[in-house]
Every structure is written in C-alpha cells, then in structure tokens.
Symmetry: C2
Subunit: 228 residues, 2 copies
DNA sequence: GGGCATCACATCGTATACAATCTATACGCT
DNA sequence: AGCGTATAGATTGTATACGATGTGATGCCC
C-alpha cells in the first residue's frame, strides 16, 4: 500500500491497491496475465491509468512487465525466494527491537487488534485475508519502530513473501504464526527489545524453513512462459 | 540505474537514467522542477514516455510528484536524511561482510578499478563524477555479496544519499572517503569479513557525522515551493 | 496603496487514435 | 503427416487531443 497522498487517492493508486490486494490474498496467482484493456474495462478507466498502476506494481516487484508482451503477476525464482527471507531476517529483528523500545500503549492495542482480526479470518476459513493481515502485522511493527524507510523495505518484502508463499509453501499450517505473533506482542508490550528481536528472527527462520524451494512446484500458468 | 532488460533499453529507461545521472552528479539539485513538456522536447519523445520515466524516479524516491503540480527533484527532510544513513548502517556492514567472504579475484580487481577511477575524477576536479563513482563502490560491494535484493535497497539508499549530501553536506572533504574505501578493499581482499563490516559501519558513521542536519541549509530552487 | 476577485495562461491528468510487435491460426511445401 | 511460412487478430508502445487543475497577473474595490 503505497500511500502517496493522504486524501483523494489517485485512480491509478486505487487500481494498484486493488490488484495488490488480489495478489496478496492469492486471488491472482503468480504468472497470471494482467491485460491492460481487461483491467481498464473492469475499473472503467483508460489504459493510460492502468499502465501507471501496473508500472507501480512492477516497481514493487509484484508484477513483471515484459516488453510488448504485457504484465504478469511475478513468480519469484527459488533464489529470489531465499533472498527475500534473508533480507527480512536482516531487517525485521531490528525493527522489532526498535518497536519494543518505542511502542506506546495505543500501538500495542493496534497490534492486538490485528491479531484478533487475523484469528477471526482463520476461523472464518478466509486464508487469503489471514495471510494479508499477517503481513500487515509485520509492516505495522516496522511503522511503530518509527523507521519509515526500513518500513517501506519491509512492506515490499512482505508483499513479495506473499508470492513466495503462493509458490513454495509446503504445509498449510498457519498455526505456528499465531504463537509467533502472540509472543512477539508480549515482548513488545513488555519493552523487551532484545527478546523481540530474537523472536522475530526465529519466526522468520521458521517461515523460511516451511518453504520447499526445490524447482517450481507449480509451473506458472503456461509452459511457454518458462521457455521464452 | 535500473537495468530491466539487458539489451535495447527502453526510451523511458534511458530518460530515467539520464535524469538519474544528472541528479547523482548534482547537475540537478533538490527542488528543481522537471517539466514534462520540457524534458520531452529535450529527448524528442512525447510526454507519455517522460511520465513513465518520472514515475520510475518517483518510485525510487529521487523525484517527488505533486498532483497537478508536476515533478521535482526530491529534497529529503532532515529526518529522512537521518533515516537513510540509519538504514545504510543497518544493511551495508552485512553486505561488506558477505562480500569479503565471497569475493573472487576479479571482483577485487573491479573494486580497485573503481577506486582508481574515483581518484582520477577527484584529481580532475570532477566532484559530481567522483560522488557518483563513490556510490557505485557501495553498490558493487552489495552485488559482490551476491544479495540482489539487498543490493537493490542499497542502490536506492545510495541514490537518496546523493540528495542528502547535496542538501546537508558540511565540509567539502571527500578525502576521508579515499582512506575508508581503500581500507575496505584491503579487508575484502583479505577475506576479513568481520573487519570489513566494522570498517563499513564506521565509514557510514563518519559520513553521517559530516552532515549538518539543522533545518534546510539551502532552500530549494523556488521559494514558493517551501510555502505551499 | 493594499487586499481580494477574476481571467488568461501554463501544466498536468486522462482518453483516444494510430503504429509496432507479438500470438495464433491456416495454408503450402517437402 | 510434419514443418515452416504467411496472414489475420489481438495486445502493447507511443503520440496527440482535450478537459481539469494550478499559477500568475491584471484590475477592481476598499
């Protein structure tokens, strides 16, 4: 969610947001074609605006644009997948630590609300939404840490993680997350920076180890795309 | 330098690159207006393409786009400036360490070549180019570390650092850089990861402390912009 | 003379039109 | 039949046109 202006979100931003959410919630999978005319018709705008939105998503690495061929939902290679989690393991323990050191009571409330919504989504069987909220938790943590720039990086990495999970997730257990996030909140609420960092690190390692990074388990939409 | 395709760089990419270099080399200062028509005339393309280029730069945070007002070279606030160097201090020691652990002889040669070119630029009094090369040094180090994603972040941060330096640089001494980069190469060449990380950290702290982050020392190009 | 409304101009935002490129089907050849 | 080529359709890349929104100046009123 790249929020450039606070009020009146540009139409291009709205479209980018819509597509972004669809990708996050796995309604659009890696490799899906994003035709300009098609999207334009759906949102009732011209291709000009759609192109701007697709370019935005392309810069966030959520979408791959291939010259004269169009835009597709990105499908990260195993290598990219590994790097995404390496980068997160580098950044997020620090944001968790800073968050623990600076968190105000209202921040804690916000985080707890997040977790509750996440649990609700899981109960309701809405896995897409649960995943989305789970990501937001990490982003909000970075925001609380009061490090805008790093928070931006984390946001991008979380988005890409969603694609990685869509491609390489091994088991369906989102349960481990519950405990991890809960323990994190406790540490943050208690102002235990070092512990928060440690918990975040092991949480990310857990996530990483739940991936099966052997060759594409699910080959992208069309076989042709791989060979092209 | 966002190199999406290896051959045939898109016209939009060429324009973005051109503007990017101009900004890096301080030929375009923070606050400078980037009119679409003006740029389009210069490069001989329509506004459509220019807009795509400006959007790219905007996503890299090198340019700020204000709705219905146009694009301007970004002028980072003191807070942003601080965060840029904080983020670098978080990322780059690690890339330096990895680089030291993985560097091949050819990588060392490349780094040395960079330094020599940098010195040459300084001797020639071409400060803009020297600054640009100095930035490339950090980016190449991240590349050698074989961490594409983190390297991308570093690239963005280096670019933004260039703006920060344009706004907040206190003394004109680029001499300290010489020693710092030289020492870094030695550590990398010797495979001393821990030492490389340490050197990188203190190098960045040095850079940061050479800034004067009290209010905008140099008000942006047009006075009105501040008041708006 | 200072402040405010109004108007002309410049610039941006979006839609549309045309050209370039790619995809896919159909045809002819070996 | 298999394979390569040609042609038609679809999709993207770029340019142009028009409407919307700011910018700056002029002129009026106080």
């Amino acid at each position: 969610m790249t929020r450039t202006s606070r009020i009146e979100p540009t139409s291009a931003e709205m479209i980018a947001d819509g597509l972004s959410r669809a990708i996050h919630e796995h309604r659009l999978g890696p490799g899906a074609k994003l035709g300009e005319d098609e999207i334009g018709t759906i949102y009732g705008v011209s291709r000009t605006v759609v192109r701007a939105a697709l370019q935005t998503l392309s810069h966030q690495r959520l979408v791959t644009i291939r010259r004269n061929r169009g835009a597709f939902v990105a499908s990260p290679s195993p290598r990219e997948a590994r790097e995404v989690f390496e980068a997160r393991a580098l950044l997020e323990p620090r944001t968790a630590q800073s968050a623990a050191e600076r968190a105000e009571p209202q921040d804690i409330d916000q985080l707890r609300a997040h977790i509750m919504a996440e649990h609700a989504a899981i109960e309701a069987g809405d896995n897409g939404r649960a995943l989305h909220l789970s990501g937001r938790f990490h982003i909000d943590l970075a925001r609380i840490a009061d490090q805008t720039i790093v928070a931006g990086f984390v946001e991008e990495l979380v988005a890409r993680s969603s694609l990685v999970i869509a491609l390489y997730w091994r088991r369906q257990s989102a349960l481990c997350e519950r405990h991890a996030h809960h323990a994190l909140i406790e540490a943050v609420a208690a102002g235990q920076g070092a512990r928060a960092a440690e918990l975040m690190h092991s949480h990310l390692v857990d996530l990483h180890s739940a991936l099966d990074l052997r060759e594409h388990s699910v080959p992208p939409a069309t076989l042709r795309d791989i060979l092209t």
